[in-house]
Amino acid sequence: MAGRVAIAQGLKLGLLALLDAAAVWAAISLLLRGDLLPLALLAAGALLLNYVVLSRRAYPLRFLLPGLVFLFAMVVYPIGYTVNVSLTNLQTGNLLTKVQVIAQLEGRYYLPPESETFSYWAFRNPQGELRVTLLAEDGCSYLSEGSTLVPVDLTDPRFVRGPDGTVVAFDDFSRLPLAEIYRSLPALERLDLTWEGVHVRLATIREFRTYLRKYEYLRDADAIRDLETGVVYTAREGYFTSPDGVRIEPGFQIYVGFRNYLDVLTNPGIRADFSRVFGWTVAWSFLTVFFSFWVGLVLAYLLNDPYVRGRFFYRSLLIIPYAMPAFISALVWAGLFNTDLGVINRIIGALFGTKVRWLQDPFWARTALIFINVWLTYPYMMIVSLGALQSIPKEMYEAARVDGATGWQRFWTITMPLLWVSVAPLLIGSFAFTFNNFTIIWLVTAGRPAVLGAATPAGATDILISWTYRLAFEGDRGNQLGLASAVSIIIFIIIATISAVNFRFTRALEDVSRGV
């Protein structure tokens, strides 16, 4: 036994040493590349790993760490990212970083009044250097020297002529055939030759052309000067803006502090619609979870009953809604609920001679949505309850039966409290998921029917997240990601608070279960 422990210990340390070696190697290569952020992450990860493996006190962490790594990378980090975006003006028109915008503007050219085009030949020497000779329309010819052009006389004997009389080589440079030119286009495209203040650049595969630079970035003033008109555009509110308010597109991202939050919290229109949307969101989540849980639990209970025949078969059929892609189910349901043409109204019409204005009347639209969502969710509850029912020791029922408890009493006094322990967190989770279930709302009603007189585009079935979507993506110029992030954070705070309160409730339950 002691020997095996020693071997296990040795293996563990050996593996750790190996991982550490790999980490050091990776760290060196990161350092050489200058990628400091990944380097910091790597160092933190390696230190944590060593601490967890070597320290006795961190023993529980050994169980938690593998899961936590994924949780942090894929859940916590995106939250941090969203917080960061919520402090910026990221939106249509302000997508790029300032560095990208300056680079793009400095790369803009315009054609001078008398633009000249040149045909060209490209040459390369064994060292891979690229040079071009340009032939202007007036017959003058030029040769590139670094990034400048110099007039050159192509009849000079240094230029070797081929059989067709054209230049094929000079010095140690030889001319590129067309196929080579295609392959070297990125390099040719980057050539920025100047001649007497004019830029000469590749315009098409076969031509160079004269250009003038459009913009110049003035580092000290943090401004852009239009070299064509002389107007200076200073950086203001994420755009380079001229004194009379003309903006250069594209704009760039800037930090705006808490402005997005203030926009949301102080906007009178948003405040007016908030309570209505919030109320429906809570009702929608609560009713969905409530009904789907009960439907699921009752079915699990029935299908766990050894006296019911064909349980296997029924269980399989009843999880089918869960196995269907949700969006196709949602679209089918929306069609079935159609007021004029839907099957449900045809059945109701045949039975009662009336039609229900599903999806058009706020009350019925909400009813239909909950009906659909319960359909989508109850199989989950059923499977979970099936599993949780197994955790209840049979002896407890035997004892209760001896005491003369009825089936109903046994269900409420034994099954439910024990079931609750493992299922309650899932119900909270399900509540949170429904709270933010954008897809179903969007596919079935898209938040409609519309509400006349609403200050913002908030329909009768809009939940907070779909309303956010409409505020952020159907307003202004679309894609107000900064604003959307801020609203997401606010929603998160709301739902986290609700859940934390619920959590205290489950904590009481957990302590009760300890006594069992």
Binding site: L178, L185, T204, D340, L359, G453
Partner: protein, 401 residues
Amino acid sequence: MKKFALWVVLALALGTLVYAQAAKLVIWADDRGAPVLRDVAEKYTQDTGVAVEVVEIAYDQIRGQFITTAPTGQGPDIIVGAHDWVGELAANGLLEPVDFGPKLAEFSAAAVQAFSYGGRNYGVPQNTENIAIIYNKALVPEMPKTWDELLEFAREITDPTKPMYAIVFQNGPDPYHWFPMLSACGGYVFGTDAGGALNPCDVGLANEGALRGAQLFADMIAEGLLPAGVSWDTMRALFFGGNAAMVISGPWLVADTKKAGIDYGIALIPSIRCADGSYGIPKPFIGVRGFMVSAFSQNKVLAFDFLLNYIATTETMLALYELDPRAPAHLPTYEIVKVDPDIAAFGLQGQYGIPMPNIPEMASVWGAWSDAQSLIANGQATPEEALAEAVQKIKAALKCP
């Protein structure tokens, strides 16, 4: 160890350098272009040695993924898309202006104009599309010329229990298919300023002309002549099942109409009698599809060479037309295919069409406008109330005075 690491790093760095050097074009296209583009790409590679990769992506994903990927440098060089994306993409600095050179004369001026934003052209147009009436000849003895005649016909054959409707169009809500009714007597989305540029603060969706069409729409639903909440699938089910005599739809419905075995015709949307007694022809939106080049492409010259010398040819444009039969924006190709009666019939309506506004401010319009349509269809508001509120919301979102 360290030396080894250094070598590895150097090799990696060189690898990326070499990778960046190799000229290669990446094109994102949907299935209405990709198969043809693959053939053209192959030819281009044969001619020039430059590799061209055509990545097939679902149409409604191209724009969003382009916006996310382009700034990272991982995006494509060329995308296929609609002209009304141009405003958003160009305002974000993601598109490279097109210099057509002498090729300009080969393209329909209107289609090129549709792709322009802020005075620059951002796309090589491929084809144009607009909606019109598609009707079932077995159910429509004579195509009504005016909306009054249409109503008469509708009262004759409509029977919701069967169901049977004279006319059906997507309205659940769907302002795109509703717009012809509003525009017939003078409704518009954005007005233009003196220079011809769209003015986002001049919204014409609640003017007298628009209200005329909206009222007609409300009355038809109230009278039971038009089913409400019709989606694309419902519309198809009704039309292909012989439960709708005519639909307002576009060239995209034609192939399936043929497959469903319907003897169809394409006609003008009936004219609407305006306040002054004259008849206004409904003006549909015109959509133009085309090719755009990324501002973050490392191979712009190559991309334009490919587009202007290999795509903008009669051969390629004809192949694209075969795959996706809509009116080509490339004039020499249009001359060849205009004998197709469907193209001609849609083109007839298209003469009256207006390009869908391509400025990013359009994002504020759809939601509010859709809400107005659904309020009207549900009878929750009069057209005046609903459209006035929509215009007010649009202007508020755009911070107009």
